[in-house]
């Protein structure tokens, strides 16, 4: 932090990694992403808290270790153990993604609204960062950095949780309870990752709409994105007695998942638990179809809508005249 007394204007103090300082575009992107995490600390604190709670639960829960091994030979069936292992992985990621959805909603609704609310917008606009780059950086954080960051944190949580579990099984002299199946692990993670990619693309219109609302409305973006669709549904019902809007919104909610034949996995594993006849988890996964989801035109129409929202948000931020 010490600065020399005589400084030539051309002299630069190097910071960070070399590749970040040499390429101005990368350096800007890196800076803008950091800026979002400085302002919206929930983006990184929330997933760490979730991870910490899950790991604590792995340490503190006793129930699982008190299974009477001699009585539950069925539980020790390797196929059942694999299912428990795989389902456990899914179960452990659920809190991560639920919290992520919550945090992302608030983040996206706030990202362009906060700078107007706290009147810092003219400071931001005095920096050589265009409105499109600003909006893009926020959507990049919402659509890429946070989801894949959450994926990484969930993955690490899974591994640590399993490690703690297995360690406790070892210490507790119950090696029969040690859970690990590399094939199931890899297949589960690949499926989760692809599911995440599909989710981001499929739900991106919501993110785009939230960013647009954040740039547009004078106050309370949360109210706008909840009340307006609700009112549209009600008005349509009252005026025409139809519910196309509601159906459309509900389709944009879960419409893509039919393409994956995901239900066969869920039903298969639910009815399968405890039955020796069940096929192994890896073979259940093989029934999931990823390609049709990417071939669904609605997925890409949604992405186009998202880009249009981002463009709109950038235009509004550029030409808004009430600061």
């Amino acid at each position: 932090m010490s600065a020399p007394t005589a400084i030539s204007p051309t002299e630069r103090v190097p910071v960070g990694k070399a590749w970040l300082t040499t390429n101005p575009q990368l350096r800007m992107l890196h800076t803008l992403v950091r800026r979002e995490f400085w302002e919206h600390r929930a983006l990184w604190i929330a997933p760490l808290i979730v991870a910490a709670l899950l790991l604590l639960s792995a340490i503190w829960t006793h129930g699982a270790m008190q299974i009477d091994v001699s009585d539950s030979s069925e539980w020790l069936d390797p196929q059942i153990k694999t299912i428990v292992f795989a389902l456990g992985m899914w179960a452990l990621t659920i809190p991560h993604y639920l919290v992520m959805i919550l945090v992302l909603n608030f983040y996206l609704l706030d990202c362009l609204y906060a700078e107007r609310k706290d009147r810092s917008i003219l400071f931001w606009k005095s920096l050589p960062v265009s409105d499109s780059v600003t909006v893009a950086s926020k959507l990049f954080v919402g659509c890429v950095v946070v989801p894949f960051g959450t994926y990484a944190i969930a993955l690490v949580t899974d591994l640590l949780f399993t490690a703690i579990w297995d360690l406790r099984a070892l210490i507790g002299h119950a090696p029969e309870l040690i859970l690990w199946d590399t094939t199931a692990f890899v297949k589960t993670q690949v499926l989760m990752f692809l599911g995440l990619v599909i989710s981001i693309l499929w739900y991106s219109p919501f993110m785009g709409a939230f960013v647009l609302a954040s740039a547009w409305v004078r106050r309370n973006p949360l109210m706008w994105v909840t009340i307006v669709p609700l009112l549209l549904v009600i008005v349509e019902k009252v005026a025409f007695g139809t519910h196309y809007i509601g159906r459309f919104l509900s389709y944009r909610g879960d419409g893509i998942w039919g393409d994956l034949h995901m239900e066969s996995v869920v039903i298969g594993s639910l009815t399968g638990v405890g039955r020796a006849a069940i096929a192994s988890i890896p073979s259940i996964y093989d029934r999931v179809h990823i390609a049709p989801a990417f071939a669904n035109i609605d997925l890409w129409l949604g992405v186009i809508f998202t880009i249009a929202c981002a463009y709109g948000a950038a235009r509004i931020r550029r030409y808004r005249d009430d600061t």
């Binding site: 600065a3 400084i7 950091r34 810092s120 400071f123 005095s126 920096l127």
Partner: protein
């Protein structure tokens, strides 16, 4: 002299209230220009037009670029502090340095650090923990460390106490300004920047009332403290402004010579503050239109 700002016939209305009415002026490179006017005169609107922050009609070139269509390019060479610009309250001082360094190729971190070392501002502090004076100091440190061709300051010392204000203008003049840079500053505390400016533009009710280099003011404007017996003769020379101070009449003339006025009393060049008041008060104020 290359023009840094060239404005021709700028117009801008807020609903029905005119904020700029046919404003034209030119700012040359290496000048320190004071845009001076009462509240609501249109100063801020003019600056916002220059910075590409508002719609307007008319022709405007800033560093050769139209700020309406080429704002992004312009912002690489222009830095500004708007009167309402507030640093985000969650930002830490160290983060602010990282931020500007990360997005601005012309930012000199060491320079900003040097400005900050003269203050009580600590690197770990958040903006919300700093006093108003410190926030302004931080903002100035960030802005003055940017090697910009044009610096625009809108009421930069608003709300600061005298000590900070003096310090600010000293820093601006001694550590920042050089012949390559141009500074455009608005304030309504004219006395403070009097000695700093190379040019003045008076603006009132959205119109330019006076646009002149400071060095040519003495040739155009003279202030006469009239000896009592000469009041009538002095009035015959058509002063555009007249007031009484301690029982003596002070008049301000445009386009008269010292030789004409010297026999009537004590002649000197009016201060910019006096000239400002004279110009503002001598204008007909029938329609009190206040622009936002």
């Amino acid at each position: 002299m290359t023009a840094v700002i060239e404005a021709r016939g700028l117009r801008k209305h807020y609903h029905t209230t005119p904020a700029l009415e046919d404003v034209s002026f030119t700012v040359g490179a290496g000048r320190i220009v004071g845009l001076i006017g009462p509240n609501g005169a249109g100063k801020t609107t003019a600056l916002k037009a220059i910075l590409g922050l508002t719609h307007f009609q008319g022709e405007l070139r800033v560093l050769g670029l139209d700020p309406r269509s080429r704002r992004d390019e312009l912002m690489r060479e222009v830095s500004f502090i708007a009167d309402v610009a507030v640093l985000p309250r969650w930002l830490r001082v160290a983060q602010a340095l990282d931020l500007v360094e990360g997005v601005h190729t012309r930012f000199n971190r060491a320079r900003a650090m040097e400005f900050l070392r003269r203050t009580d501002i600590r690197m770990r502090s958040r903006v919300r923990e700093l006093s108003k004076g410190m926030v302004t100091q931080l903002h100035l440190a960030l802005t003055l460390a940017i090697d910009a061709r044009l610096l625009v300051l809108d009421e930069p010392t608003l709300g600061l106490d005298l000590l900070y204000r003096r310090q600010f203008y000293d820093t601006l003049l001694n550590d920042y300004f050089d012949k390559e840079r141009t500074i455009l500053v608005t304030t309504h505390q004219v006395e403070e920047i009097e000695n700093l400016l190379t040019d003045i533009i008076f603006i009132d009710h959205g119109r330019v009332v006076l646009d002149s280099p400071v060095e040519s003011l003495p040739e155009r404007y003279l202030q006469l403290t009239v000896t009592p017996e000469n009041t009538t003769r002095a009035r015959a020379l058509q002063p555009f402004y007249e007031r009484e101070v301690f029982g003596r009449v002070v008049m301000i003339f445009e386009g008269r010579t010292s030789a004409e006025l010297a026999p009537l009393g004590e002649v000197r060049t009016p201060s910019i503050a006096d000239l400002f008041v004279a110009k503002m008060e001598s204008r007909p104020r029938g329609d009190q239109k206040e622009a936002a």
